[in-house]
Amino acid sequence: MNDPVSGLVLAVVIVGLALSTFATRTSFLLAGARLRLRHRVEVALRYAPVCTLAAIIVPDILLHGPHGTLDLSPLNPRLIGALATGLWLCWSRHIFGCLAVGMAAYSLARVCL
């Protein structure tokens, strides 16, 4: 695992990843002004952040281990941390407070449970 990976392959991989990141991030921003999106599409894009982030966040909380085993147990430390953040969010919009409370709950759950 810890052998240095060969230079040329790595250079190609890095350039490939960099290009794919740049291409996806700038895709519609560059296609920009000429494009006129339908109203329906604009409505859809309003929900892009919440849906995409849900698809990132929830598996990260509920799936564990190399094979992604589903952990729905209420003792799942990540679930406890996320719920703590969510509850804190209900009465304070300060992100830092949410992070602190969530990490504290998560760490506590990991140590105690």
């Binding site: 695992m1 790595l10 996806t24 560059l30 919440v50 982030l53 990132i56 909380i61 589903l70 941390g81």
Partner: protein, 251 residues
């Protein structure tokens, strides 16, 4: 006289842009703990995945996409074929296409180079913060690009410094503290307030369930499937809600 007025206008415009940039820099500060933790974890993972320090720094600077890097690293270490590595990175990045489309209307008037620059620095965190601020009416009326540049500048600096720290100090950074979970929690805090409408809630729910069901798909396709399924659901729910008679829950 005319020249003087023009000069004054330019100076005040520059000042306004500087103020917008600073406001953006300030707006991202609370989420920077998430970006920092995530950057450090990426840095450590690159070195532990077998990259030497100069290569790891190069990857961090050129790619600047933690999730794609983390997806690619085990494949690199396992000696997977090139196209598999790059395809995995690309599909992990596909969500940025959606982000890019969502940001487009806000920056359509800018020159192409400025749009390319904003795109390069756009990440999950900066995008989520921008859209949340737009939703809550907290974007400045003018110079949104300067505001977003400020957001991105601080996010980039924090991420790169933490990644560098992780790369250099890989053997001293504890990997079993679950530091990377701070990044996830920052996203929870950014996205949580948008869950108040029914379309958003149903979309998020479907996105999460589909992402869970499809997580075993190759090339990390599950994330993208979940996102698309969620967006379709939310859009349908939105259309259904707007078609409902007045007196129903307002959109």
């Amino acid at each position: 006289m005319g020249v003087d007025a023009e000069h004054r206008r330019l100076v005040s415009e520059k000042d306004e842009r500087r103020v917008a940039f600073r406001l953006g820099q300030r707006a991202i500060i609370p989420s920077l703990f998430g970006a920092g933790a995530w950057g450090m974890v990426s840095g450590v993972a690159m070195v532990k995945g077998g990259l030497t320090v100069p290569w790891a720094i190069m990857m961090s600077l050129l790619v600047y996409a933690g999730s794609a890097q983390l997806a690619a690293l085990p494949l690199i270490a396992a000696g997977a074929p090139l196209w598999v590595i790059v395809t995995t990175g690309f599909i992990t990045n596909l969500r940025f296409v959606i982000y890019s489309a969502a940001l487009r209307p806000y920056f359509a008037d800018l020159p192409a180079r400025a749009r390319a620059r904003l795109g390069f620095f756009m990440t999950d965190f900066t995008f989520a913060l921008f859209m949340r601020s737009a939703l809550e009416g907290k974007l400045p009326g003018k110079h949104r690009d300067a505001w977003f540049s400020g957001v991105c500048a601080n996010n980039w600096l924090t991420w790169q410094i933490s990644a560098l720290t992780g790369i250099v100090a890989a053997s001293y950074v504890p990997t079993d503290w679950g530091l990377e979970f701070t990044g996830t929690l920052a996203l929870v805090a950014l996205v949580g307030p948008s869950l108040v409408t029914r379309p958003a809630l149903s979309g998020a729910l479907v996105a999460a369930i589909v992402a869970l069901l499809t997580h075993a798909l190759p090339f990390r396709l599950g994330l993208f499937c979940g996102a698309i399924a969620g967006i379709v659901t939310a859009t349908l729910a939105d259309a259904w809600q707007s078609a409902a008679p007045p007196g129903a829950e307002p959109a």
